[in-house]
Amino acid sequence: MTLEHPKLTLGPLHFHWPAARRRDFYARVADEAPVDTVVLGEVVCSKRAPFFDSHIPEVAERLRRGGKEVVLGSLALVMQARERQSVMDLAASDDFLVEANDLTAVAACAGQPHAIGPMVAVYNPSTLELMARQGATRMCLPGELTADAIGALAGAAMATGTQLEVQAFGRLPLAISARCYHARAHGLHKDGCRYVCEKHPDGMDLDTLDGAPFLTVNGVQTLSGSYLDLLGDLGRLRALGVSRFRLSPQDCDMVAVAETFRAVLDGILPMAPARDRLRDLCPGRRFSNGFLHGVEGMAYRAAAI
């Protein structure tokens, strides 16, 4: 069996970086990162969107000139009228594929080609097939799925011509809330948050009472404290039929991270040096891949080669 050349997607930036930094980041990605697709847009908190929305056309154009496909991600939790309107506007866009991150966007995109993001509940082939019938051409699966579940979903993906994507690097989005924990930890409410989330370009560490690192707070979003590392699992996932791997932007050299994953996927870089390189690129970070192996997500299991 020949496998489609696996593609790399740079996922949406979850953190509240200043607009200038975002522009610089994407400019470098456009010029240097060996990724095929970039997901743009504020997916975590609608209060942040005005800071970067006006830059998106220019950044998207730059990325396209660099040969990247640009996808626009929708907000993960939609409640207010203006948030709903932004989802409707996004879905009406003819220029870009939209990645739906909640059921509002799933509804708005039904009947036209679109992608499904990892914060939408796709847990089984029936749901995958239903979404494919509604126009979904690509799905990035929820982080908590096991390899067995991904295998079962891959069969349905192949039968429906759906591209299956799995996050392979970065903090995993684990929860979303109406409440802002970043504001709460600073004695503030969401309405008067003073954008304190901007202080933490890689999210705010949340530790246990024993001082052990645990989770990462990013405004209304809670992410894993560890970085997902599926370098050792790429071969197995490709064999199952996963055709795309997502790298979630962190506060590190993402171009070098993408080069490392690309080199492993292309068979140029063996596993051991790749793993060492990834750890050098993310000093002080812990890594996990437990979900894929059917155990607690925060665990790290060496892959059977």
């Binding site: 509940a121 749901t127 949340l206």
Partner: protein, 331 residues
Amino acid sequence: MTTASLSLVCPAGTPAALDAAVEAGADAVYCGFADATNARNFPGLNFSPVEMRAAVARTHRAGRSLYIAINTFPRAGEEAIWHRAVDSAAEAGADAVILADLGLLAYAQATHPSLRLHLSVQAAASTPEAIRYLAQTFGVQRVVLPRVLTLAEVTELTAAVAPVETEVFAFGGMCVMAEGRCQLSSYVTGQSPNTHGVCSPAGAVQFRREPGGDVTARLGDVTIDRHPAGAPAGYPTLCKGRFRANATTGYLFEEPTSLNAAEHIPGLIRAGVRALKIEGRQRGRAYVARVVGEFRRAIDAAVTGGFTVPDLASEMEGGRATAGAYDRRWR
């Protein structure tokens, strides 16, 4: 306006709790099968298909309704278990099934076209667009709203989605994360509400006595809270634990507290909400009887005049309550 306009939907994890809920004035009772198809998959809880048939018969004799929650996400490759649960619910004569998974909604609609479909809170439908889409696609007739909305937003949404009915949580355990979209429990234990119907499962909980006398509550390998020996300590639900961030230590997500929206009953009636839901299929019959009885009296008083907020402090986690997202300041 009659009392029929606001239905009181009550939990039952056992036949005894079901009888207590009916006696105390529940308009409808919701139950689950004893497996991973429901979001309270706890040992010793829930109903076999035979018990469910008997429960439906008893509830109907009392003139009330019975809903069956099949509100986890079918595991890939094991969907037959979830399909059987929907079949059993239809055979038992349930008045509605409460579903979250889109694929399962499609199965129920195709296989049992006369079975009434309610959308579980776990499906996370928070906007008119999402709800109308689910109503049009699957024939969903009622939506249990996520606990993320303010009273003003609930009011607006209820008007916007009619004739689809809305149901809201009024009392009991409270997720602070958007329901059906939280993988914190599986990150620590390998089991989550979506995959196994459990959050912070008891099998992963450990209480460890420290040399100084304190008791540490742990979930998997993670310390969730610590109390002096003998001090009251709640169940170590992950998001109700104490953690450190930004140089502060405390309940950074939420205190160990219960949702109590009883004060909002008149407002929810004005909003046109169809049903109030009490959480707690894992609770005993005494709890069910007391909470359901208080809410029955409060709803009736709100309709006939003379509403006062019921006193339910003794039934709240840590004796504390919050109106949660119904108040905008909670956010």
